[in-house]
C-alpha cells in the first residue's frame, strides 16, 4: 500500500490525485496530497510511476505496513534507493530511455512441476 508522501520532494502537481485508480488521495493543506483512504489502495504502483518528483513510495504489502516498518520511513526508502526505483526501471523521466525498449523476457518453455523428493530422502 501507499506509505510515503515526501512533502519535501512533492511539487504539488496533483498528478497522483488524478491517476490513482481507486481515489486514495485528497489534496492536503499547501497542496501536498494526503493518503485519505489507504484501505482502498490496491498496491498497483501507478501513482509512484506517474509522480514526476519521485515523492511517493508504495510498500508492496496488501495491508498497511506496521508502524515501525522501514517501508514507512522516508529516510530508509531514500537511502536504499527504493524511492523512485520503479520510475527509473520504466525509464520514465527526463533524459531516460523507455524501459519498454528493452522489455524482452526469457523464452518461456513448459512450466516446471516440482518433482517428488528422491527415494530415501
Amino acid at each position: 500500500m501507499i506509505e510515503v508522501v515526501s512533502a519535501s520532494r512533492c511539487v504539488t502537481c496533483d498528478v497522483c490525485i488524478a491517476v490513482c485508480p481507486t481515489n486514495v488521495f485528497d489534496r492536503g493543506a499547501g497542496g501536498v496530497p494526503v493518503i485519505a483512504r489507504q484501505n482502498d489502495c490496491q498496491t498497483c504502483f501507478m501513482c509512484e510511476a506517474h509522480c514526476p518528483a519521485d515523492a511517493l513510495f508504495v510498500a508492496p504489502l496488501t495491508h498497511p505496513a506496521p508502524p515501525d516498518s522501514p517501508l514507512r520511513d522516508e529516510d530508509h526508502v531514500t537511502d536504499t534507493g527504493l524511492l523512485g526505483s520503479y520510475r527509473k526501471e520504466l525509464g520514465w523521466g527526463r533524459g531516460r530511455k523507455s524501459g519498454a525498449r528493452t522489455a524482452v523476457g526469457p523464452e518461456l518453455g513448459r512450466a516446471r512441476i516440482t518433482p517428488a523428493p528422491a527415494q530415501g530422502e
Binding site: 488524478a18 485508480p21 481507486t22 498497483c44 504502483f45 501507478m46 496488501t62 525498449r101 524482452v104
Partner: protein
C-alpha cells in the same frame, strides 16, 4: 435518486477505459462518432493491463504459424473455442499491434533488427492509449463510475448515469449506443490492478436484458508472494515449490500444478517458493522483461532466485477466467439493441474456450473486441440518426438504486456483501477445488443476500457506486456457481471433484442469466473433437 447536475450527450458512450474501452473509443471516433469515455478510475492507469502489462497473442500471418497458435490451447479449453473467431482475433491483433508502433509510437524492443511485438508494458501502453484517444477527439471523464444504463421505451440502450466522485455530482449521458468495457470481476482480491474490476458491466447488461456465457470458467487464481499484490505468474515456470518445512511439494507448479498449491494452502496455510531453475542470463532477462515482477522482492529484501519465500493464490475470477457478457454478432453486440460488450466484460470463450485467457489471448481479445464493438456502436448510432435525441430515458438499474421492498436493508449492505464473498467465493475449497456439496450451500447464501439487497439496499449518490459494485459481485458469484453446478463434468478450468472426467454430451457452452431468478441453458452441442483434455 441523484439530482442530475451534469447533462451530457454523445453518439457513443464507452464505459471503462482499459485496453478494450480505449480501442473501442478510437474506432468509434475514427468512424466519425462523437465519443465520450467514462472511467471509474483513470483511463491510463486503471485496470490490470495498466499496472500489470500483458503478453500478446501476436502471430505472424501465414498458415503454419496461425494453425499452431490456434491449436495450442484448444484441448486445454475443452474445445469450446471457435476457429473463425480465433482467426479474426489474430488478424485484428496483428493489425492493432502494428498500428501501435506506427501511429502511437509505442517503443517496441528491437530484436535482431525486428520489432518484438509479443508483449506490452502496461504503464507505457495505457498512457499512450490515453493520449491517442484524446488526439482522436474522444472526451474522457475520469473518476466517474457509471452506475446504470438508461433505456428507451423499447428497451434499447440510450445512455448511462453515474457519479463524478471527485466533484460529488451526478451525471447523465444521452447516447445513441453504449459499449461496456468494464473488465472482469476479481472480487476485490487486491490482485494486481484488479480492484476496479468488480463486474459492474455484467450487472448493468443483465439489468437491460443481456445474458452471460462461460461463467463456470471464472475460478482463476494467481500466484503472488504472500501478503502482496503482484500476481505476475510467467516466471514461476522456473520455480520449485516447497512445504513449510522446506521439503519439495511434489506436483506443484504454476501451470498444471496450481491446484496442488491450493490444496497445501488449505491444509497447512504455507507454501514456499524459490525461482531456482533460471540461469543467470534468464534471471537478467526477467528483470528487463517484467520490472514490476521484482517490485515486491526488491522492497521486501527477498532474492527470489536464492531465497525460499511464502506464496499465496489470489482470486482473479473472470479477469483471467473467460466468462462474461454473451455476444451475438461480429460487432460484439449483445442481445440488447444499442449495447455492445468488449474485453473482459465480454465472454472470451470464443477464443479461449474454458481455459484462462491470461498470458496472451485476453490482451488480443481486449484490443480486437474493443475495435469491433466501437465500430459496431458507431454504425448503430449513425443508423439511429437524430431520432436518438427525442427518446424518453428510464434508468434500467434495480438493486441498490430502486429497492423493491418497503423497509431498508437491516445492517450494513457493503460490509455484509464483503463478508459473504470472503467466505463463499474467495476460499479455494469453494470456488477453485469445486464440489457440488460445497457449491450449493454457498449459492444459497449468495441468493439470500441478493434477495435482501434487492429489497432494501440503497445509498446516497456518493455511496451508490460502491453499493452497486457489491451487488455486481454478488450477481457475478451467483452466475458463476449456477453455471458451475450445471456443468456436471470437468472441462477447461471448470472442474468438479465429483465429476473428474470429460463428458462428450456436455461439449457445449452454457448461457446463464437472470437477477432475482437465475436460469441456465446449454447452447447446442459443438462438433466432436479428438484428444479432449482437462486443464489444471
Amino acid at each position: 435518486m441523484t439530482t442530475t447536475a451534469l447533462d451530457l450527450t454523445a453518439d457513443v458512450v464507452i464505459v471503462g477505459g482499459g485496453p478494450a474501452g480505449t480501442w473501442a473509443a478510437l474506432t468509434a471516433a475514427a468512424a466519425g462518432a462523437d465519443v465520450l469515455l467514462l472511467d471509474k478510475g483513470y483511463c491510463g492507469t486503471s485496470g490490470p493491463t495498466a499496472s500489470g502489462g500483458t503478453g500478446v497473442w501476436y502471430v505472424q500471418p501465414g498458415p503454419a504459424a496461425r494453425e499452431k497458435a490456434m491449436a495450442s490451447r484448444e484441448a486445454l479449453g475443452g474445445h469450446l473455442q471457435d476457429r473463425r473467431w480465433m482467426a479474426r482475433v489474430l488478424d485484428q491483433t496483428y493489425e492493432n499491434m502494428n498500428r501501435l508502433e506506427a501511429e502511437a509510437r509505442y517503443p517496441f524492443p528491437v530484436v535482431d533488427g525486428v520489432a518484438h511485438k509479443r508483449g506490452l508494458q502496461g504503464p507505457e501502453y495505457m498512457r499512450r492509449m490515453r493520449s491517442w484517444i484524446k488526439r482522436a477527439g474522444v472526451r474522457v471523464l475520469d473518476h466517474s463510475p457509471v452506475t446504470e444504463l438508461l433505456v428507451d421505451p423499447a428497451g434499447t440502450v440510450a445512455g448511462v448515469r453515474g457519479h463524478r466522485r471527485q466533484h460529488d455530482t451526478g451525471y447523465r449521458v444521452r447516447a445513441s449506443a453504449a459499449v461496456l468495457a468494464t473488465g472482469g470481476c476479481a472480487f476485490l482480491s487486491k490482485a494486481l490492478g484488479c480492484d476496479v474490476a468488480t463486474g459492474d458491466g455484467a450487472l448493468y447488461a443483465a439489468e437491460a436484458g443481456a445474458a452471460m456465457s462461460g461463467m463456470e470458467f471464472s475460478n482463476s487464481y494467481a500466484i503472488a508472494p504472500a501478503f502482496t499484490s503482484v500476481t505476475k505468474t510467467a516466471y514461476y515456470g522456473f520455480a520449485t515449490f516447497f512445504h513449510g518445512d522446506g521439503t519439495p511439494l511434489a506436483g506443484a507448479g504454476s501451470q498444471g500444478g496450481r491446484s496442488v498449491i491450493a490444496q497445501e494452502l488449505l491444509r497447512t496455510g504455507t507454501v514456499l517458493c524459490q525461482i531456482d531453475h533460471a540461469t543467470p542470463e534468464q534471471q537478467a532477462l526477467m528483470r528487463s522483461g517484467q520490472p514490476n515482477f521484482f517490485l515486491t522482492f526488491d522492497r521486501l529484501g527477498i532474492n527470489p532466485f536464492t531465497d525460499k519465500f511464502p506464496v499465496t493464490l489470489l482470486l482473479e475470477g473472470t479477469v483471467r477466467g473467460t466468462g462474461g457478457i454473451q455476444i451475438v454478432d461480429d460487432d460484439c453486440a449483445t442481445t440488447v439493441p444499442g449495447l455492445y460488450a468488449a474485453g473482459d466484460a465480454a465472454t472470451r470463450e470464443l477464443i479461449c474456450g474454458g481455459f484462462t485467457g491470461g498470458g496472451s489471448h485476453n490482451s488480443a481479445w481486449a484490443m480486437s473486441s474493443g475495435t469491433w464493438a466501437g465500430g459496431g456502436a458507431a454504425r448503430f448510432a449513425a443508423a439511429l440518426g437524430s431520432s436518438a435525441v427525442k427518446r424518453r430515458l428510464t434508468g434500467a438499474g434495480g438493486v441498490a438504486v430502486r429497492p423493491t421492498g418497503s423497509r431498508p436493508f437491516d445492517g450494513d449492505p457493503w460490509a455484509e456483501a464483503q463478508d459473504v464473498l470472503r467466505r463463499q467465493v474467495h476460499p479455494y475449497d469453494k470456488n477453485y477445488l469445486r464440489h457440488g456439496d460445497r457449491l450449493r450451500p454457498a449459492l444459497s447464501e449468495l441468493d439470500e443476500l441478493w434477495q435482501r439487497l434487492r429489497a432494501g439496499a440503497s445509498a446516497d449518490p456518493a455511496g451508490t457506486p460502491r453499493l452497486r459494485q457489491a451487488a455486481a459481485m454478488v450477481a457475478h458469484a451467483r452466475w458463476m456457481y449456477t453455471s458451475a453446478l450445471a456443468r456436471t463434468e470437468s472441462r477447461g478450468m471448470a472442474r468438479r471433484q465429483e465429476f473428474p472426467g470429460l463428458d462428450p454430451a456436455q461439449h457445449r457452452r452454457l448461457t446463464v442469466g437472470g437477477l432475482d431468478e437465475l436460469w441456465v441453458r446449454p447452447e447446442s452441442l459443438l462438433a466432436p473433437r479428438p484428444e479432449l483434455a482437462v486443464a489444471s
